[in-house]
Amino acid sequence: MVNGQARELDVEVRKTLADALREDLALTGTHLGCEHGVCGACTVLVDGRPTRSCLMLAVQAHGHDIDTVESLGTPDHLHPLQQAFWEHHGLQCGFCTPGILMSALWFLRERPHPSREEIRELLSGHLCRCTGYLQIIEAIEAASGATGGRRQ
């Protein structure tokens, strides 16, 4: 399942999940920043848990639920998390953003009222070159207030 829909793909076994999402399903919101598992730009949810899709083979996704940034919201209906990033300027070039959104989505479900320290810790699994992180932390903090711990 990808973003709630059953999908069937025919791929080479060596193709990564990230490339299959981007090329075979045209879900280009998931980005490749390093392809060695450090930057986190490729993060998607696999069975609800943030996973670096550049470190997973597409064939490994068989039977699992994959959620990408495209499942979060649309320009007309932003998810509260996206709304918070928008209001707090939590992105500049936007390349690292989808990965961070997916990580944050999982995180706020686990920890509805995180401390700043806990947010910083979560973000340490992601590289951002533009923002210097503070406005991202502020956005996630604001989102935690907004979602109020509701399961999304």
Binding site: R14, T16, D19, H36, R52, L55, M56, S103, L122, S124
Partner: protein, 297 residues
């Protein structure tokens, strides 16, 4: 950076997996969490003829705490172990060490067995296993499973004594006796990076407050994790007075010959190993509770 061509198998049982490995010999690699292997594949630094994916072998994913041992199936995710309440109660050192393993996003997929089999010289779990004198179980096709004690498991950089067609199936962390204090200290350039130097330490106090035994294991100080046997002997029977931990730590670091790289020289690592060992010992002792007192300090 795209992986080269390889054959792929996703067996449902351990036996199937072993069968494939047996066929390919050392031309096959086991895929567990992928957090270490996939980067190597993407960079084409690893070029196996076949990948044997263990993610569907559900029999390898379990966490049990019984008879003084935390037994973890090789495919247990690091994060699941990190947040397991029974593990937190029984073996806080394991939880503490896991906090240093990469980032939560890595630990959600990375496995305990995979990390040990990968044997990174700056990895946290190998040092932990060596500190606790743990062991692993290795299975082979048509052969009886064998246990490999930690001291025999790590051979050199990224190399264990597992045979090419063997799979590590279970990891056993012995729980130190009740009242033992433990600590894991690490320095890395940034949060979550591989250790420049890491130390796992345990300290058990006797009822008179003297040191019953102490263990010190280093990571990042050579090709494999090492126990500081001389320092451990030195501490046995000693009294926790000013300077004791520092002297023991200096002794522990004395014979280390860490490598140099872009991030730090061997000489620096050796120095810092002593600093961290002293800190870890002090912390472990503070967390220890001698038998007659029966509560954590």
């Amino acid at each position: 950076m795209k992986p080269p061509v390889f054959d792929y198998y996703d067996p449902l049982t351990l036996e199937e997996a072993l069968g494939v490995l047996d066929q390919y010999g050392d031309d096959a690699k086991v895929l567990a969490g992928g957090q270490s292997l996939m980067p190597l594949l993407n960079m084409r630094l690893a070029r196996p003829g076949a990948l044997v994916d263990l993610n569907k072998v559900s029999s390898l994913n379990y966490i049990t705490v019984e008879n003084g041992t935390v037994r973890v199936g090789a495919m247990a995710r690091q994060r699941d172990v990190e947040v397991d309440p029974a593990v937190a109660r029984s073996l806080p050192l394991l939880v503490e060490a896991l906090h240093f393993v990469g980032h939560v996003q890595i630990r959600l997929r990375g496995t305990i067995g995979g990390s040990l089999a990968h044997a990174d010289p700056a990895g946290e779990l190998p040092a932990l296993l060596v500190c606790l004198d743990g062991e692993v179980v290795a299975a082979g096709h048509h052969t009886a499973p064998r246990t490999i004690p930690a001291r025999d498991l790590f051979v050199t950089y990224l190399t264990t004594s597992l045979r090419p067609a063997e799979i590590l199936t279970e990891v056993r962390f012995p729980m130190p006796p009740p009242g033992t204090g433990s600590a894991f200290e690490e320095l890395s350039r940034r949060h979550g990076d591989y250790a420049l130097v890491g130390v796992a330490a345990t300290v058990r106090l006797a009822s008179d407050g003297s040191i019953n035994d102490a263990r010190i294991a280093f990571t990042g100080c050579g090709p494999i994790p090492t126990r500081a046997a001389d320092a451990e002997r030195y501490l046995e029977g000693g009294r926790p007075v000013d300077g004791l931990w520092e002297r023991a730590a200096d002794l522990a670091a004395r014979d280390l010959e860490p490598d140099s790289d872009l991030h730090a020289s061997g000489a620096y690592r050796k120095r810092v190993a002593a600093v961290l060992a002293a800190r870890a010992l002090r912390k472990a002792a503070a967390r220890a509770a001698p038998p007659d007192r029966g509560r954590q300090q």
